[in-house]
Subunit: 240 residues, 2 copies
């Protein structure tokens, strides 16, 4: 009875497709929340708004439980559906991407803690311009890496990898300036350190976004590019 | 022909077992190398030995390529063998553990970079005692988390999770002392920052080892404890 069998297969494969779409949807939901965390944490520093920082700390557990539940969904799909080829790569990429998202959330809570310390001190130290600037860039990287994931857009993934290089360079420059500033005004040391730790966390958020972008390339092209140089990546994978 | 079929099944399952053992062996090899990296990086700081720091930087690419090749092995097993239950949890845990190992390797190279900067400066600043002390503890954590993985030893995994709490507390104390020291002697700021960044990396290495220990609990008990408190973990999983 080939027709019935086909009907059955279609049915199973429809369910399977739904499950694959669902893990993608859940990844995007988690990503949206994490992106919001990063923006709020940066804003909390800039506005010396410890209430906003508290919000970031409070929603951390939601992100953590999203990570666990998406991971369980992925394990269930691996066990029951035995996905192959690009379906398998999707499940693997989602599992990896949520780990990075969870760590972005962690870094956002670290920034929130620094925001609270800075808000208590009152006065705005040096480095706020850099926090705003680098903060905006890494928020955009989080957003763009997820967008690239949703649309399977390798070119957009490559722009995230490029943006990370730029952020790393700006981070290094900002850190050098802050060291100089500390030396000139030792009374500011403690506050400037709060700014430095925040910048460090933002830089890490950039790294995690780059990781997510690299999973997009793995997902679409089947090639693991985590340790491939940017130039080679662009040459091989950029569409014309 | 049940006998032949059984023979075939045995054969397949023997091969499958070999493959599972192999990814575990490769994880242990990668872990051994990473552990060595951490020890060398700490020693490079303490001995102001930039040659040893260079060694750490040079072997980083070996760790990176081990990560990629083990990940490929895991994806191949998922695609061909369709593992279930504890076999599936093993493959998932190995995939996650190598990500943490790779990041431990990254942190070791960061420590090596700080060692090179410090060796150029010559004089030993404050904080070396703390680097040695915290360095020894996190090296042991890396070792013990892998040992727990190899022997599926939940109790040992729990001791790693506990050790991480202790390291976090000692790290916080060391950082406060270094801030005070910077304020008292602003000329030391730049060197003390090198020490601070190194301690930060060591603290992160502790976090990643704790992650690996938590995968051991997941692997053996089937329960994801990444966001479970230590007390609850001990109550639920410690053997009597």
């Amino acid at each position: 009875m080939p027709t019935e069998l086909d009907g059955h297969t279609d049915h199973i494969s429809q369910q399977f497709n739904n499950e694959l779409n669902e893990i993608k949807t859940h990844l995007m939901e988690m990503g949206g929340l994490v992106e919001q965390q990063v923006e709020n944490a940066v804003q909390a520093i800039i506005d010396a708004d410890s209430g906003k920082a508290d919000e970031v700390l409070e929603s951390d557990h939601t992100i953590n439980s999203m990570e666990i539940s998406i991971d369980e969904e992925c394990a269930r799909i691996l066990a029951r559906r035995q996905p192959a080829a690009s379906d398998l790569r999707l499940v693997i990429s989602v599992t990896k991407a949520i780990t990075d998202l969870e760590r972005i959330g962690d870094e956002a809570t670290k920034v929130a803690h620094q925001a609270i310390a800075l808000a208590e001190d009152g006065a705005a130290p040096k480095g706020y311009v850099e926090i705003r600037h680098i903060g905006e860039q890494v928020s955009k990287m989080v957003h763009d890496s997820l967008d690239a994931f949703a649309r399977l857009d390798v070119d957009q993934a490559l722009t995230v990898v490029k943006a990370d290089k730029r952020v790393d360079a700006e981070y290094a420059t900002a850190m050098r300036a802050l060291v100089t500033f500390m030396m000139e005004d030792p009374r500011s040391i403690s506050r400037v350190l709060n700014v430095m730790w925040s910048l460090r966390s933002l830089e890490r958020i950039g790294d995690h976004s780059r990781n997510i972008a690299q999973y997009v390339i793995y997902l679409v092209k089947g090639k693991d590019v985590r340790h491939t140089g940017l130039t080679e990546m662009v040459e091989r994978f950029k569409s014309d």
